[in-house]
Subunit: 228 residues, 2 copies
């Protein structure tokens, strides 16, 4: 047989290697990279809209949008006149590091401080594929219910920050925030949890502060390397 | 090389063959099978709870629960004392026909009229894997937003019924039902759309009528075969 056998494990290892290369390129440019992961409709694009309104032009932001189909999310963000790349995965249920490598070529990395990658809406598959990001940020909408961490454990184990979104809907749901805290403590004790609402603005200051902390840290690290 | 090369296409074809066998077994037993597919937290288990409360004991119901981890959903349905099988996919992002074949062995098919399969919460991957069901039913919660059909087209192309869930939250969201109708018309003109709320009961009579229609049709088909 002339075929090469490609095992799923090999694919993940190839992806991991590509992700490390991506991170090296981002680090060299001093760019902080955030990989946003959630179910469809948890509010990733809405969060990006308010974040752009707040942080531009103080922080130079680029965005990579991942979707199965359409460029609707990119269309929503286009009015902000930022470097923006839409990836259509044509059926793939997550972004991978090779797709990001290709998208990076379209971004002016030397002019950017922060790149958001909005993954395909999927609480399962994106957790397994590193992209070269500094941090995975998971979003869980209060409308999805509070039993999700233990039922979908992988993303909660991999994320550095968990945003509980759409807190404006809390009065109309049975969402149990203390239960989420208990489940997260069991899965990933270092995972920070931040409830917020892009509609009312609740909690957004904490999100902006967290982002700025990472951006300044990365810039400082780059300066340290340059003078070392 | 002694390896057998397994292409993704072969896996899907193997799955399709197994799904057809499953459907044959279900048909022989006169059991109607519904595959429930949605994002995490769209309300699949809540819908099953009210459906069991309404249709038992008139209709004999069995359930196959699919989750990455935990048996929380099965625990919620256990009080109804129905035949119930929990599948933990151990990381797989969807159920497949072989998992269902194994679960069917645990169900008393000859005593059942209707089997619900609650798929892993995922709007992407489950659409590609037939299980041997009579119909895929997609759920979309109003909290997820109304831009989903064109962004996640596959499940909307494959489903026979689309349930718009959590309509009790409509006053607090910007969900645009006419837009969903327009998108669905473009993707799959024969897809029926039924808005409902498991909390207020709105729309549930239509859901029960749809289910009873399928169950009676399947029973009639079986009788026709037996007397032919």
């Amino acid at each position: 047989m002339d075929y090469k056998v490609i095992l799923a494990r090999d694919l993940r290892e190839t992806n991991l290697k590509q992700a490390e290369e991506n991170l090296g390129i981002f680090n060299k440019a001093g760019v902080t990279v955030i990989n946003l992961i959630s179910s469809p409709g948890a509010g990733k694009t809405s969060l990006l809209e308010v974040t752009l309104q707040k942080l531009l032009p103080e922080i130079n932001i680029g965005i990579i949008e991942g979707d199965l189909a359409t460029a609707y999310d990119a269309d929503r963000l286009a009015p902000y006149k930022i470097p923006l790349v839409q990836i259509n995965t044509a059926g793939a249920c997550h972004l991978d590091a090779a797709m990001i490598r290709r998208a990076m070529e379209e971004l002016p990395l030397e002019d950017l401080d922060l790149v958001f990658i909005e993954n395909v809406g999927n609480l399962v598959c994106p957790a397994e594929f590193d992209l070269g990001e500094d941090a995975k940020v998971a979003l869980l909408s209060v409308a999805e219910g509070s039993d999700k961490p233990l039922k979908y454990p992988f993303i909660f184990q991999k994320a550095r920050l968990l945003l509980i979104t759409k807190t404006d809907l809390l009065p109309y749901t049975n969402f149990d925030l203390p239960s989420v805290h208990r489940q997260v403590r069991q899965l990933n004790p270092s995972l920070e949890i931040l409830p917020l609402s892009a509609l009312t603005g609740e909690g957004l200051e904490g999100w902006y502060a967290w982002l700025k902390g990472l951006v300044h840290q990365k810039k400082a690290a780059r300066k340290g390397c340059a003078t070392a």
